[in-house]
């Protein structure tokens, strides 16, 4: 179906998967409720190569955070996940619960938006880091774990790490808390770091510092990083590749600089155009009228059709699938150049 879009994802051989930190293929997340089935993610396909920084960008309800939660199987009870998710070479959906816990403790770690809520308020920072390290590697002695924790605190830029180990979370600033949360993930020696809006709660300068830190960690440790964000400015010079999501679907993917300067999906373009930074001061901002379809709705055609400035009749009846439209780039838009012939009608839901 999406042949050639993602070379590695298209070839389901284990060899192919080893190249990738994360492969999501036709992932569908649904939530049955009393009022009907909610479709949170609709057939999302993307991959994150080893050592790569990939940003999942989208507005609220786009499915960017849910994608991360699905990759770690941290969805609320009752949520149903279909498709294929290969994380760090392992099939997440087929994994027994115990192995899954091990994977989350060690290989794939998660950093949340709000650092204050990620730290236990009544436990010393050192104790929390030691716990994290020893959960990942039970053979580690308490002393070795403390030493590792201290080293990681120093690495993420916490001044006087030794004395900080004895502090409580409320004694440190927001920027420092987020550094500590990152250190807590690093002591486990992960290969993939998931960050859900890691800088949204922080000030501008602190934000820049944290992004710089993530970039360094990516370069030095070869850490693969997946960032969910609503702010395209935040990741414009951090992420290698951008995956743009809309109403639970991947609408565009490609190298960040290219997607930002030459978007191939009308949604990406509209979004970039509505940012204040793309306007002369005081000028009227471009807006996207209307709002995305909710998870309970199932438009027959393209989910963006109702708001799209270039909508065509065919968009209302045929649902686009992501296809390669240029080297390294894919877009789910029937009208975008290079999309090719439309062979099927509406894809089945």
């Amino acid at each position: 179906m999406s042949e050639g879009l993602l070379e590695t994802a298209a070839a389901p051989s284990p060899e192919g998967f080893r190249q990738d930190a994360l492969v999501m293929k036709d992932v569908r997340v649904t939530l049955p409720t009393g009022k009907g089935l909610l479709r949170i993610i609709r057939d999302a396909t993307f991959h994150v190569a080893k050592g790569e920084i990939v940003a999942l960008a989208g507005e609220s309800g786009s499915g960017k955070s849910t994608s991360i939660m699905a990759a770690l199987r941290l969805l609320p009870p009752g949520a149903r996940v279909d498709g294929t998710i290969i994380l760090d070479g392992q099939d997440v959906l087929a994994m027994p619960r115990r192995e899954l816990r091990g994977l989350r403790a060690k290989r794939a770690r998660l950093v949340f938006q709000d650092p204050w809520r990620s730290l236990h308020p009544m436990k010393r920072i050192g104790a929390q880091l030691v716990e994290s390290a020893r959960t990942a590697d039970p053979s580690l002695s308490r002393e070795a774990a403390r030493e590792l924790a201290e080293r990681m605190l120093a690495r993420v830029g916490i001044p006087e790490p030794a004395s900080r180990m004895d502090s409580y979370p409320h004694e440190v600033s927001g920027g420092q808390s987020q550094r500590i949360v990152i250190a807590m993930a690093l002591v486990a020696g992960p290969s993939v770091l998931f960050c859900d809006e890691p800088t949204t709660a922080l000030d501008v300068t602190t934000q820049a510092q944290i992004l710089e830190l993530l970039r360094e960690l990516n370069r030095e440790l070869g850490l693969s990083i997946v960032i969910a964000t609503h702010d395209l400015d935040v990741i414009s010079d951090l992420a290698d590749r951008l995956v743009v999501m809309y109403a639970g679907e991947v609408v565009e993917a490609g190298p960040t600089a290219e997607v930002l300067s030459r978007p191939r999906h009308p949604y990406t373009w509209s979004l970039l155009r509505s940012a204040p930074g793309s306007h002369e001061p005081g000028e009227r901002l471009h807006t996207i009228e209307g709002r995305p379809p909710g998870p309970a709705e199932s438009p027959a055609g393209c989910a963006f059709a109702a708001r799209c400035p270039s909508v065509h009749e065919v968009c209302l009846s045929t649902r686009p699938e992501p296809r390669p439209v240029a080297p390294g780039r894919s877009a789910a838009c029937l009208l975008t150049e290079g999309y090719g012939p439309i062979t099927a009608g509406a894809r089945d839901e």
Binding site: S60, D237, L271, R291, G340, P341
Partner: protein
């Protein structure tokens, strides 16, 4: 003079008492004015005192020291009915989170009628007429009057918040991060609305935000706060193109290419143990012994611009100012296909 500005803060100080006989000086001698019909952007890190300044200006907090003038009248110590007529009718606030600043048990129509009711403006029919008129002005379907806030989207709720602020015909709106909880595309709609209302009604805004692109877009002038003090104030374009204070330079550099960004080291110090000298000295790349010992006063550097720095303009910015290039629209081609609908359409 008094006709030029709608509100003026003079030497505002706010201290909060902490346990153990300590005090926290959240705002330390802040003076500025908001001119008629202008947007004054107020930026600064969390804990810099910008929200406290705004809350004092609108008299939700009582200043520890200093004076506030509004529409040519000293309102610092007003109470009771004088406060209600002179201040509450003419200034209003739009809050950051429309989900928590609207009463979930009140229908939208009642939310909007409440200010009129409190100030005994008109009878029920007149109030209803004004509510519907206002809803139209802010782009809300009048049918929403009977709905509850949680039935509305985030953008619609913020329109309700804005409409509520406008019900009593204010001359000054204090907006505290009014778009921070909104998505980019919705934010654009709300920002346009705020600008339309300003033009139509000659409103002045004190606009608090940490979004630099947004503050640059909206503001005529910008005031920068750091650790409870005003460090620079001036016309928005000049401030971003040619910042005089090193902290302003740091902020302005965030709007430039990565290689030109200036990242300060460390964190903002706690206002509880504020440095004796300049508040920014602990992170400033230019700081000297003088900066650590002596707090620089806010002095004019050019027409309409004031800065509090011993070395104004010395931290220079590299790269080009200005906005991000607007990307070209995606190249589109009509789908090459045998679908009948397309053959018909040509």
């Amino acid at each position: 003079m008094s006709e030029q500005h709608v509100a003026r803060a003079d030497g505002l100080v706010k201290e909060f008492r902490l346990g153990g006989g300590r005090t926290l000086r959240a705002v330390d001698g802040v003076s500025f004015e908001v001119r008629r019909g202008e947007t004054l952007g107020l930026v600064g890190e969390s804990g810099s005192g910008k929200t406290t300044v705004a809350r004092m200006l609108i008299r939700l907090e009582k200043p520890t020291a200093g004076r506030i003038d509004f529409e040519g009248r000293d309102i610092t110590a007003l109470r009771g009915s004088a406060l209600r007529t002179a201040v509450r009718r003419r200034m209003a606030m739009v809050f950051q989170n429309p989900s928590t600043s609207l009463n979930p048990y009140q229908r939208v129509g009642d939310v909007l009628a409440e200010p009129l009711r409190v100030h005994k403006a008109g009878d029920a029919a007149e109030r209803r007429r004004r509510v519907l008129e206002m809803m139209e002005q802010v782009g809300l379907d009048p049918a929403f009057a009977g709905r509850y806030p949680q039935e509305l989207s985030g953008g619609q709720r913020q329109r309700v918040g804005i409409a509520r602020a406008l019900m009593l015909d204010p001359s000054l709106i204090v907006a505290d991060e009014p778009t921070a909880s909104l998505d980019v595309s919705v934010q654009a709609q709300v920002v346009n609305l705020l600008q339309d209302l300003q033009r139509r009604r000659g409103l002045a805004y004190l606009f608090i935000t940490h979004d630099l692109a947004l503050v640059r877009h909206l503001s005529h002038r910008i005031a920068v706060m750091y650790l409870g003090r005003l460090v620079e104030i001036g016309p928005a374009a000049e401030l971003f193109a040619d910042p005089a204070h090193p902290y302003t330079a740091v902020l302005a550099s965030m709007q430039r290419d990565t290689e030109h960004r200036i990242l300060p080291t460390g964190d903002i110090p706690s206002p509880v143990d504020r440095p004796a000298g300049c508040g920014f000295s602990s992170r400033c790349p230019l700081a000297t012994a003088r900066c650590v010992e002596q707090a620089p006063p806010l002095v004019p550097v050019s027409d309409g611009r004031r800065v509090a720095c011993h070395f104004p303009g010395e931290l220079r910015l590299g790269g080009e100012p200005g906005h991000r290039a607007v990307p070209a629209p995606p190249p589109l081609a009509l789908p090459v296909t045998g679908l009948p609908t397309l053959k018909k359409g040509g």
